[in-house]
Symmetry: none
DNA sequence: CCGGATTCG
DNA sequence: CCGAATCCG
């Protein structure tokens, strides 16, 4: 080998060692495992990471398939009763807990009405015609204990059985895991790689007609707006989620994105109820600066009387996941409602935060709390 | 002398030398002049400075008394015609220019009507029943070329002959100079020392009934609200000026002060027209945050259709007085109008910026442009 | 993925 | 008497 070739080889080795360190660091594995996954994926960090997490998720999923049956624990062993008290309808939720929770499935429920002519609509109890919704930024970019945290998310979904789930900060392996666990849901994703948003729709109650992905032309963080047009017991719904540009210094871009969201809400025909939910990263003055919410659109938390117990969806004092030294809390996650002017009028009924249980790993499901909320027709 | 006494003397000398340096620096004089004024004023910097500026102002005033007659130049020699073009009513203004301008006096004008029963009211031309107003932060805290800049202000007042003048950032010697020059005006001041605000009222047209000073309880910059209740051709007017807390980081205090201003505007009886003008240091979101202007109160610049030519009253690109390296511009100086609901309705007619001529010293009258504006009854 | 203080141009 | 970037707890 020439001197030049030797130098090149040394550089390559150095690069690969650095890649291994990074990989091991991110995956909480060691350099041997790192070397293995990276070599198998042509030293492409992203492919290697996806491959690692998918494998890991799959193995966890397989393990839980049996483990969960034995242990019957949706979140962790220590605080099952505490958790039960948090459920909105304890009687209903308790039934869920006693079921096998590896797959989130409620096939005993009647299917969703695909039109108002359905004969089944009148057979269901009034309570079941309530729409339940979860919106949650699951912080898939934080890979520490991500498998256990994904399991935590699925346990909360099992516990609450929401009709609609808006998720933000998914990564491919996390999304893959959800797809395998949440078989009773249709899953719509906002992207294929990087990190992205998604919507889960309960097959038995929500019928998906079409979905669309609207891009933010100037995002620097791959953010977009994911929409699903559905029917829910004869009502036309337009469901929207997004993860608006993060951090205070991105206020300008975030406000542009909010305008896109509000414009799209306004353009939905008024026979259709619109529900937007997501991690908006908004500060109130930003909403004011874009002129506030258009008439007909309400912030569900505000409409419910600004209850303190579910004001802050991001709180570094209560939630240690971020591991930051400062304390700060914000109402980043928000739900907007634009009821249809025809048919029964959807109105907010209840809102609570979820995900406030520490998992066995000592961390929370996400650095954000999830929002669980219900609407009455 | 003991060693101790020698040391004390040395310290004293050092202190005095430092005081002289500072004085010479501020006054653009030399240490001999400084020594003289400081010694005469028991080494009290403020007294010495006031004494210097008053003397200086007076001497300038005396000098101009003859000089101005010879040169007939309101601002400087180079751009007289440019300046003339800026006058709102060139014909009227030209008459002013050809007059002796050491004292701002228009004794040939009829006196202001003190009540609607006055017989003189109907004799004046309609144009003269327009109310003209100047609001200007004269930056008296910047002592560099302050005498020439004060002369500049007076020249602008001579040129525009406003009925009402709102001034901010006066210092005692500057105020003293104005009082001597503007003999045709009544002068109301917001304070006696430090820096303060003031109102000039044209004796021949505006009759002062009373004035009041409203304090801002939490100001850290000695700011207050100065009000004058007057009659102008039979109309009751309530004139208000203020210099709200400076700098962006004082937004909270500034908004409190704005609320005081708006509350006081609202409390004026509705047979009285209210005009507020001053250096508000406001950013638009701050106005929005306090709930916007109350109904009935308008921002005159906005009501005139937000003309670009008079948007920015503070502009480091156009105005070099601050000598800062950055460029930035703001609409700090604002006029608010709350017309009376009885009698003729005051409405904004015209607005222009003044003070955009460089003086002989190469600097502007202030780091703020002045606002000249007119109202029709 | 914070807000307040500070720096810098 | 600026705003954007940075630091800091
Ligand atoms: Mg995040
Ligand atoms: Mg100033």
């Amino acid at each position: 080998m020439s001197d030049k070739e030797v130098t090149l080889m040394e550089n390559l080795e150095e690069t690969r060692l650095r890649l291994c360190d990074k990989f091991a660091n991110v995956t909480e594995s060691d350099s041997a495992v790192a070397q293995c996954y990276l070599a198998e994926n042509e030293w492409d960090m992203e492919r290697a990471l996806n491959s690692f997490f998918e494998a890991d998720m799959e193995s966890v999923f397989d393990a839980e398939d049996t483990e969960e049956i034995k242990n019957n624990r949706p979140l962790n062993k220590r605080k099952k009763t505490d958790l039960l008290e948090k459920a909105h309808s304890p009687e209903t939720k308790r039934r869920m807990i006693s079921e096998k929770v590896d797959c989130i499935d409620l096939t005993e429920d009647e299917p969703a009405c695909t039109s108002s002519t359905s004969s089944k609509g009148s057979e269901v109890e009034e309570g079941d015609r309530k729409l339940s919704l979860v919106s949650w930024n699951v912080d898939g970019l934080d890979t520490l204990s991500l498998v256990e945290r994904a399991r935590g998310l699925c346990s909360y979904l099992t516990l609450y059985t929401p009709d609609v789930v808006f998720l933000q900060e998914l990564i491919p392996s996390y999304a893959q895991y959800i797809k395998k666990r949440a078989v009773s849901y249709v899953f719509v994703e906002g992207n294929e790689d990087g990190y992205f948003i998604g919507i889960l729709l309960k097959k038995s109650r929500v019928k998906l007609h079409k979905h669309e992905i609207i891009s933010y032309p100037t995002t620097q963080m791959m953010r977009n707006l994911l929409c699903a047009q559905v029917t829910f017991f004869g009502q036309e719904l337009y469901l929207m989620t997004s993860h608006l540009e993060s951090c205070k210094d991105q206020a300008a871009e975030r406000m542009k994105q909010l305008k896109v969201v509000l414009q799209n809400i306004k353009e939905v025909p008024d026979n259709t109820t619109v529900i937007f939910g997501g991690d908006t990263n908004l500060r109130d003055p930003e909403v004011a600066k874009v002129g506030g919410l258009p008439s007909g659109v309400t912030d569900v938390w505000e409409e419910l009387g600004k209850p303190e117990h579910c004001r802050y969806t991001w709180d570094t004092k209560m939630n240690s996941n971020k591991g930051v030294s400062y304390v700060s809390r914000c109402r980043f996650d928000r739900i907007y409602l634009r009821p249809a002017t025809t048919g029964p009028r959807m109105s907010p009924e209840h809102m609570t935060l979820i995900g406030m249980e520490k998992l066995d790993c000592g961390r929370y499901t996400s650095d954000h709390w999830g929002i669980y909320c219900t609407f009455t027709p």
